[in-house]
């Protein structure tokens, strides 16, 4: 679970760490008021759950109330397209208005899970504000890392190693070590996957201030931390995605024309892949999961078919835990509800497959049955290219 910059900064403040003075605005008026109170210049930062905002024009400076008004107007309720949002961009509903910082230097500090080596990494760079993955390739000499484990956390000598690597002023060494300790503890106690302060400012007065923060919580860890759930912002999800979440469906909207309903993440990806292999484009990723209910299937099917872009659908169920008859019943229910008009190719295998097929057949609805995976995919692609009957 990613959270917004302004949310992460609030957490930092609660940990006793410094962030620029600032507040969130949802309207131009609010932005102006906050700026007046802070004093000029200020920085306006679009709050979306994606990086790359700077280059994409999502971060602006303003020296007067008038400029704040103009900049806020350009950001609020516009769609911001960054390298990470995908081409459709993200709607900006909030901006963070912050006091502009006079700085001496900027660093990078990050904590993350090193999946390959199965350990945690604390990483600093002498030069922050840039993309760290790229920097680690182009200027590795600017970067230093210390590995650590959840049982023991970052040792103080490791924090010292990192602090001295940054050539910090003597008085700042201790402050930065304390900074790392607090964030390290928070990372471990709250099941984070990633925590990045980039840039980390060293101000003219030798204070360490978090310029920007990214916090990504492990979804699997959220159950341990109910206090975090209010931080989740669902407003960036499509209506379909919100609806799917409610029924615990793994759904992701894509840009193609062929809706997919599959059980299992791997098979769902493979179904998308085979559609593309035969020249089609999947409209979504959808894994109904193992413990799915008839109602959830019905919702899933409805989500698929009510997508205006979708011109055909491919249902690919390999019944293991999931019973084919349950899936069939769910499909029929929703197809009746929305009076199915799009062609649906159905491939059922596994548990209770015959009963499932019978239910679909007896429904009298226009399903195409194909037991061969390849043939089913080809058919779905073919049907997606046929213009819909009006």
């Amino acid at each position: 679970m990613l959270i917004h910059e302004f949310q992460a900064k609030k957490i930092l403040k609660e940990l006793g760490l410094l962030v620029p003075d600032g507040q969130v605005a949802e309207t131009i008026e609010e932005a102006k008021n906050i700026a007046q109170e802070l004093g000029f210049p200020v920085v306006l930062k679009a709050q979306i759950l994606a990086g790359g905002r700077g280059k994409a024009g999502g971060i602006k400076t303003a020296k007067s109330a008038e400029e704040v008004g103009l900049q806020a107007a350009s950001l609020l309720n516009a769609r911001l397209v960054t390298l990470q949002t995908g081409p459709q961009g993200k709607l900006v509903k909030k901006i963070l208005v912050e006091k502009y910082q006079e700085i001496k230097r900027e660093f990078y500090f990050g904590l993350s899970v090193d999946r390959k080596n199965e350990r945690l990494v604390a990483l600093v760079s002498r030069q922050g504000g840039v993309e760290i993955e790229e920097q680690s390739r182009s200027q590795p000499e600017l970067i230093k890392q210390e590995i650590f484990f959840p049982e023991t956390g970052l040792y103080s000598f490791q924090r010292r190693n990192l602090a001295y690597f940054l050539d910090l002023p003597a008085e700042v060494i201790r402050i930065f070590m304390d900074y790392m300790e607090k964030l390290g503890s928070f990372f471990l106690s709250h099941d984070l996957k990633l925590l990045e302060i980039n840039p980390l400012f060293l101000t003219e007065t030798d204070q360490l201030v978090a310029g920007d923060i990214k916090m990504d919580f492990d979804d699997s860890g959220l159950a341990k931390h109910p206090e975090l759930s209010p931080l989740e912002d669902l407003s960036e999800l499509s209506l379909e995605e919100i609806r799917a979440r409610k029924f615990k469906l793994n759904y992701l909207k894509m840009r193609g024309r062929i809706g997919c309903l599959v059980n299992g993440a791997g098979l769902a990806m493979a179904t998308m892949d085979i559609i593309q292999y035969f020249g089609g484009q999947p409209a979504n990723f959808l894994d109904i999961g193992g413990g799915v209910t008839e109602e959830a299937v019905s919702q899933a099917f409805e989500i698929l078919l009510s997508d205006r872009e979708v011109t055909s659908a491919l249902v690919n169920i390999f019944g293991g835990i999931v019973r084919c008859d349950l899936v069939a019943r769910g499909m029929v229910a929703s197809a009746r509800r929305i009076s199915l008009q799009k062609p649906v190719v159905v491939r059922l295998e596994g548990t209770n497959v015959d009963e499932g097929k019978k239910i679909l057949e007896e429904s009298g609805l226009p399903f195409y049955f194909l037991s061969d995976f390849e043939a089913a995919a080809r058919k779905a692609v073919e049907l997606s290219q046929v213009k819909l009957k009006e």
């Binding site: 999946r115 959840p150 699997s220 998308m272």
Partner: protein, 293 residues
């Protein structure tokens, strides 16, 4: 003679009285799996589906000497369940549970490393050695004994592969789901090493997916070990968008890392028969086996 799981393997089920545990214990028993004990704290002394239940793994081990434990406990208790099994001396643990926090799994891995316990999963369908035993949740009827070893990060996609193989008359030596989480126990390389030494296995099918670098490491291993048996691989997620989790906690392209295209490329360079059409998983293996004979 298959890997990891044999006809005589004695199985312990942790979380045997839960809904999932019950359901699959019944199916495993039906397949002939030797389930010798179950663990549910507080229900020790009872029997469930004919299997004796114990309060702790330790007690179960003392009474019934299981070789393998399979875990069906909820996500926040599962890390401890794995460690409990290891602590009690089990040498192989299969964890079906999905949704164990990553930091918990890092601790588990450190714990197991010191004790030499092997882990399959978590978030895996389990292991099946067709005709011998099944420890997991896969539909048994699609399997048949034969020469193909399968290692997969996915569940249903493995069933698809097995189904294709069986329909072509090609049985499986052992099919192992390594799990769809970012941190799992045994990976492709360790299992490939086992299949290498297994007489029954004549070819291996790998099923990867986006996220992480397990496939790239596998390519490295296959190259440097001059792997002696033919290997085919499919990697799901060529169409997956970056930065999004696709079902499995581990199936996510992070930055430029973890794309299916890169993985396929690495495997191809390593001499693996890469498969782009997931409807041809069986056919690809068939071709390899024919080329071999």
């Amino acid at each position: 003679m298959s890997i990891l799981l044999y006809e005589h393997s004695r199985i312990l089920v942790q979380g045997i009285t839960g809904q999932q545990g019950s359901f699959h214990t019944e199916k495993m028993l039906a397949y002939g799996t030797k389930i010798v004990a179950g663990v549910t704290p507080g229900k020790g002394g009872q029997r469930h589906l004919g299997v004796p239940i114990f309060n702790t793994v330790e007690q179960a081990v003392r009474a019934e000497q299981p070789d393998i434990s399979v875990i069906f406990v909820p996500p926040l208790a599962a890390a401890e369940a794995i460690m409990e099994a290891s602590h009690a001396g089990l040498k192989l643990v299969v964890c079906i549970t999905e949704g164990i926090p990553v930091l918990d799994m890092l601790k588990v891995k450190n714990f197991l490393k010191e004790r030499g316990t092997l882990l399959i999963g978590p978030n895996t369908p389990g292991i099946i050695s067709p005709g011998k035993s099944k420890v997991g949740i896969m539909p048994a009827h699609i399997h048949q004994p034969g020469p193909v070893g399968i290692i997969s990060r996915s569940g249903t996609l493995t069933y698809e592969a097995v189904y294709q193989l069986t329909n072509l008359g090609l049985g499986q030596s052992t099919a192992v789901g390594i799990g769809g989480d970012p941190i799992v126990g045994l990976k492709f390389t360790e299992l490939l090493e086992m299949f290498k030494n297994d007489d029954q296995t004549q070819a291996v099918l790998l099923i990867g997916e986006i996220g992480g670098t397990a496939e790239e490491e596998t390519a490295e291993y296959l190259k440097s070990s001059y792997y002696p048996k033919p290997v085919a691989a499919y990697v799901a997620g060529l169409t997956a968008p970056p930065g999004k989790r696709l079902g499995h906690a581990g199936a996510i392209i992070e930055g430029q890392q973890g794309t299916a295209a890169e993985k396929l490329k690495a495997l191809k360079i390593a001499g693996v028969e890469t498969i782009e059409n997931p409807a041809r998983l069986g056919k690809a293996i068939q071709k390899l086996l024919m080329g071999k004979n």
